[in-house]
């Protein structure tokens, strides 16, 4: 693919609002996970909850969009000057030439869950105040952001479970190469809800503790919420130096099972190999791999096998889900942004909460933070239905 500059990015997650909190948490190994304290869920688990989403409603002309997911979308947008960067881009490119590609898995489904608690006992009707299209429908978050900025470019939501907001980078690249837009806002927003907490719980995939990726005693994931965005532009349209560049992507399907990855990690390896091919890089040029690393028994094992197949046993890798949890449809962009921070700080995050590495693993899982010159990094995101996506980033000079 033709490289794109990530000219601006921001992430709001369980460790805080914007990049400053994220960077501080990563460097100091401060986890944002905590025992589940949501008033609508009673499961013995840890979650990654964004503080005070509830206190930040969507108001005025966009109030029909008000729901937990769009509150998070709005909150995340208002960090690190991202909003201003979009406004500037609109002036430079025109509102019709900026694409909008966002990922989510469950959108504003919490709103529907609440509406069902309040159905009319006689007729079964949903409350009059319930706006399905603006809240729960999968396109809701992109419709909200599109109207927020009055954008007129191509806009869509990708919903491929946990790879959703990794795939938006690939989609934006294709739209720009095809000439349908000149620049793109990519991102992902997913928020805590009953469906995912009780759903993953029904599959025995949630841990009762803070998740422990690659640990021999790992017992599942910590569900979490996050919102993150990146602005992608062609290099010729950016003058600032030392930007993070998006250099390659790979997308594959396991064609194996709805909820389990292929045990030998073949589909995952395909995705990483395609990303290398797309970037024109060799495996030995990658300095660090940010793993999907959900801390479920099957994901981490299969991903280890895929890592060995593509990179062998020396390339440093780790999961950062011990910090922010598994943010599902936001995981792709969240971990892309973490890769951006790693590149800027020349630092590799050690796998947080991992006490004792699974002795069956052969890949080089890093357990302690370390400083190291990073040139190129790869980030993995793998979703239900065996939907895989890998992204490669580097420093553009």
């Amino acid at each position: 693919m033709k490289p794109l500059i990530v000219s601006k990015f921001t992430l709001t997650s369980a460790v805080g609002y914007g990049l400053k909190d994220l960077e501080e948490a990563l460097l100091n190994q401060r986890s944002g996970l905590r025992a589940c304290d949501l008033d609508f869920v009673s499961i013995d688990t840890y979650i990654g909850r964004v503080k005070e989403i509830e206190a930040n409603p969507v108001v005025d002309r966009l109030k029909k969009f008000d729901c937990r997911n769009n509150r998070l979308a709005q909150l995340a947008l208002r960090q690190d000057g991202f909003e201003q960067s979009v406004e500037d881009a609109i002036i430079r490119y025109g509102s019709g030439r900026i694409g909008l590609f966002l990922g989510t898995s469950t959108s504003g489904i919490l709103q529907t869950e609440m509406a069902y608690q309040n159905r009319d006992s006689a007729t079964g009707d949903l409350p009059e105040t319930f706006n399905y299209k603006e809240t729960q429908n999968n396109f809701s978050v992109a419709a909200f952001i599109q109207k927020y900025f009055k954008l007129k470019g191509p806009a869509l939501v990708i919903s491929t479970a946990c790879s959703s907001s990794a795939k938006v980078f690939a989609e934006a690249s294709r739209f720009i190469e095809s000439g349908f837009c000149d620049a793109a806002i990519v991102g992902g927003v997913d928020s805590l809800c009953m469906t995912t907490l009780y759903g993953f719980s029904s599959l025995d995939l949630v841990s009762s503790k803070a998740c422990r990726p690659a640990d021999e005693d790992r017992d599942g994931l910590s569900l979490a919420e996050a919102g993150g965005y990146a602005l992608l532009e062609k290099p010729e349209n950016c003058d600032s130096q030392d930007n993070i560049a998006f250099l390659g992507y790979g997308e594959s399907s396991d064609a194996y099972h709805m909820t389990s990855p292929q045990p030998d990690g073949r589909g995952m390896a395909d995705s990483m190999e395609m990303a290398l091919e797309s970037s024109g890089l060799n495996a030995n040029q990658i300095s660090y791999v940010n793993l999907h690393g959900t801390a479920t028994e099957t994901n981490d094992k299969a991903e280890d096998k895929a890592m060995i197949k593509v990179f062998g046993s020396s390339t440093p890798c780790s999961s950062t889900k011990g910090w922010i949890g598994h943010t599902l449809g936001a995981a792709g962009v969240a971990e892309a942004i973490i890769c951006g921070i790693c590149l800027k700080n020349n630092f590799i995050p050690g796998s947080l909460n991992t006490d004792s590495l699974d002795p069956g693993f052969d890949s080089n899982v890093i357990l302690e933070n370390r400083t190291e010159k990073l040139t190129y990094v790869l980030s993995n995101s793998f979703g239900f239905g065996g939907n895989n996506c890998s992204l490669i980033f580097g420093v553009h000079s």
Binding site: G96, T112, F139, Q146, P154, R174, S202
Partner: protein, 267 residues
């Protein structure tokens, strides 16, 4: 602007049971009968998965299978783009109802079927297709977005795309305020170059302005289908192809923009 070649069609909609059966209806040679049927079970799906599959999955897999067969392409060589306005709303409704009950019981099968990309995942499992697969949403304009996405894939990767649209009848209590009255699935095979199976050349472009252009001469029955189910939107292109009508079709995109499709049917 991006050019793609439409090589195969699959369809399952009221009165339009397959592409072969739909063609003479679209030309007016045969009358259109609005006839709702339950979906056909997709026997292509392995038995273990088939038992768990829901209506959206059966419909999407069936039309995808028909399109691949008509285009005589190997599905393993295609990129998959699946899209729907409502996705698995019926299952979401079931789950939300379960969540009001004591203990919040969610069925694991319903949970994985509620995932928006489940039809695409069942398709990849059924056909052992291991390439890129995207499931995307854009409300009523999902076909406009999916068509651009597919065109961008064809252009960038110089590979064929299987584009599948599907939307099913609204469940209660959504049937009052957010009604879709009938099931519809349509699949298109879009290729980077012309072949002996090509039905039409499509030039696809995005314009950041609203179009005032209207379709001329579209059968009013089809207009009802298109207005009643967002996934019936490809019928506008299919009608032009069946009638050998070279024309431009203007698809609304988000109230502000347009996807323009210039259709040149092949002989």
């Amino acid at each position: 602007m991006t050019t793609v070649y439409l090589d195969g069609v699959g369809i399952e909609a009221p009165g339009l049971r397959t592409w072969d059966q739909a063609r003479p209806v679209l030309t007016g040679e045969k009358p259109f009968h609005f006839e709702k049927k339950t979906y056909q079970v997709a026997t292509l799906i392995p038995e273990n998965e088939r038992r768990r599959a829901s209506d959206t999955i059966h419909i999407a897999v069936n039309v995808a299978d028909e399109a691949v067969n008509n285009a005589k392409v190997n599905p393993e060589l295609l990129i998959n783009v699946f899209s729907s306005y409502r996705g698995a709303l019926k299952i979401v409704s079931h789950i939300c109802n379960s969540l009001t009950l004591p203990g919040h019981p969610v069925s694991p099968t319903q949970f994985h079927n509620s995932v928006y990309n489940s039809p695409a995942a069942y398709w990849s499992i059924a056909t052992q297709t291991k390439g890129p697969s995207t499931s995307l949403a854009c409300a009523e304009d999902s076909f406009s977005a999916a068509l651009l996405s597919a065109a961008a894939c064809v252009f960038t990767h110089e590979q064929g795309v299987l584009l599948v649209m599907y939307d099913v009848e609204s469940p209660k209590p959504f049937d009052k305020k957010y009604a879709i009255d009938f099931n519809c699935g349509i699949a298109l095979i879009l290729m980077p170059s012309e072949s002996e199976n090509t039905l039409a050349k499509l030039d696809i472009d995005f314009e950041p302005r609203k179009s005032e252009e209207m379709d001329i001469g579209l059968n009013p029955d089809l207009v009802k289908l298109i207005n009643g189910n967002a996934s019936a939107q490809p019928l506008r292109i299919l009608s032009a192809i069946a009638n050998k009508d070279s024309c431009e079709i203007f698809y609304d995109y988000l109230e502000t923009s347009t996807v323009v499709v210039r259709v040149e049917p092949c002989n």
